[in-house]
Amino acid sequence: MNDTERKLGPTILKADNISLAFGGVKALTDISFEVKEHEILAIIGPNGAGKSSMLNVINGVYHPNAGSVTYRGNVRQQMKPHEAATQGIARTFQNIALFKGMSVLDNIMTGRTLKMHAGFLAQCLYVGRARNEEIQHRKKVEEIIDFLQIQSIRKTPVGRLPYGLQKRVELGRALASEPVLLLLDEPMAGMNIEEKEDMSRFILDVNDEFGTTIVLIEHDMGVVMDLSDRIVVLDYGKKIGDGTPTEIRNNKEVIDAYLGVSD
């Protein structure tokens, strides 16, 4: 990715001195970073570094003990997850959190929930707005299904799908809400090279076509270096690096944390 060609907007998300602890265990200590509009930011770090916790803070699953998150100009300390959703933050999970009993189609349709407004009675009778809505949103969902190339499994219950496809469906569900900010927690964990390539392409396409800002956690350094505009490195809940892939590659502290070299 050529950095100079990409047009990054103003800051969309800003974390200020975020600290989070569970009981006595400190998950995050004094983390600050910024995400610009249309950017792909990767958060990396060894296991247990607090990467997933950071995402959970951003979309309101965890409430930080200290610090604040500024999203689109609004400062906040606490927010419920569904409020984050209404503000355009979507998310995928490290250990796939799909609705296992539902079909691929229904899973992705749930992503449209916030955009549907038919009244209860209309839904009971499946008339008027309820019906039109279902059909309209189905069209939108079919576009996503086409985009992710999962047409053939649209009616399959997700519980029966292989891991790689489930990850793809989960991305689809997040996309269905047409997010402004997309949080991806290890979107490529456990995938083979081919699947990783596919997933990388989807992520770049989403970023390109819809202008979605993306924050992702990933372990595969190759992927991270190729995809991201900027990288934030966490270790033991502390930020130890922040910069472009090239900068990170040459950051001594980061290399030490990853290779376990102590000086």
Partner: protein
């Protein structure tokens, strides 16, 4: 067999989202409706209506209602008997206190009263999960048992605490014969089934299922748990409440508070589990199975010519019932509806299984 979908191409999402996308299914449902509304009334006798069709239909309604809550929204409830009681007593009180109201409206008001109670007792579901919630719903069961047996206002101060009612009369048409009662119940069931189906295939149904499958993820994509859970409680208790009103007025005719005790709650839960969690057809199949099983077990010794005391028969019934439930759970945990679905899938491929 002619159960094939080959050649039936859907050209619009509208067609694909129909309740029965396959042509043969539509024919099949039409045949069922024809059987239900035309053939059965011509053939069945009074006993069959009274002992089989009417209770099965009303219980199917209750089971569908409970299935919306347990099967679709994943909230375990042991309080269905209580919701039926609320429906029945509320309908009774509306009817005697506002005599000019149409009885059908009273049934609906009974259902709405159950809805109100359901929403109130659904509030704990926002804080507690699983078995804690199940036990919490038992609180409702015991509370209503007590309310309707101890607070005389609800039974209109009848000395015995039991209630006897006249046959329902709607616009001068009296539902007194079994066949009329049957048709009334069947109509209600059909309407409510359509509503249930519409709900579960739409936004609200997806919100329920999402909450059931993974509540944290559901919240993160914008489904408010309070909305999903309380709406499931509301709709479910409405269904069960209406079923309760029908059960009291149409099936029983006279009843005591004990008619809606915890055993009824368990029965309905059995129907849902054996029929199939998260399946509308399952509710119906389960209701049929659980209602007919005791009848069958009762008749069995007579058919076999064995002389048995009634106490013995009832004990054996308990044993067989318990055994069958375990057997079912072990062999087909997804219930009768799953067997039904597998049969359909096989038929679709028949005679080439691969």
């Amino acid at each position: 067999m002619f159960y094939r979908e080959a050649g039936q191409f859907k050209t619009s999402y509208k067609a694909d989202q129909a309740v029965f996308p396959i042509f043969q299914d539509r024919i099949f449902v039409a045949i069922w409706l024809f059987l239900g509304f035309v053939v059965v009334p011509m053939l069945a006798n009074e006993y069959v209506f009274r002992a089989i069709f009417i209770p099965v239909i009303i219980m199917a309604l209750a089971a569908i209602g409970l299935n919306l809550l347990v099967g679709y929204c994943g909230q375990v409830s042991l309080g269905s008997g209580a919701f039926m009681a609320v429906g029945a007593y509320a309908a009774y009180n509306f009817m005697i206190r506002i005599p000019e109201l149409n009885p059908l409206i009273c049934f609906l008001l009974g259902g709405l009263s159950a809805t109100v109670v359901g929403v109130i007792f659904g509030i704990p579901s926002l804080r507690i999960k699983g078995f804690y919630l199940a036990v919490a719903t038992l609180a409702l069961q015991f509370f209503t048992d007590w309310t309707f047996s101890r607070i005389d206002w609800f039974t209109n101060y009848t000395p015995s605490g039991s209630i006897a009612v006249q046959p329902v009369e709607v616009w001068g048409f009296v539902f007194d014969s079994p066949i009329r009662k049957y048709l009334l119940c069947l109509t209600v069931l059909v309407i409510f089934t359509v509503i249930a189906k519409n709900l579960v295939r739409g936004r609200i149904g997806r919100a329920w299922m999402a909450t059931r499958d993974m509540d944290v993820a559901a919240e993160i994509i914008g489904i408010r748990p309070i909305y999903a859970k309380l709406s499931a409680f509301a709709v479910s208790s409405f269904f069960i409440g209406v079923a309760g009103a029908l059960w009291a007025y149409v099936h029983l005719g006279s009843w005591e508070p004990l008619a809606f005790d915890i055993n009824l709650s368990f029965s309905i839960l059995f129907m849902v589990i054996i029929g199939g969690l998260g399946s509308i057809v399952g509710g119906m199949l389960g209701a049929t199975f659980i209602t007919l099983l005791p009848l069958f077990l009762n008749q069995l010794p007579i058919w076999l010519g064995i002389n048995m005391s009634t106490a013995m028969v009832s004990h054996l019934e308990y044993m067989i019932f318990g055994g069958l439930i375990i057997f079912f759970l072990a062999v087909e945990p997804l219930g009768l509806a799953r067997i039904w679905q597998i049969t359909k899938e096989k038929l679709r491929l028949w005679p080439f299984p691969h």
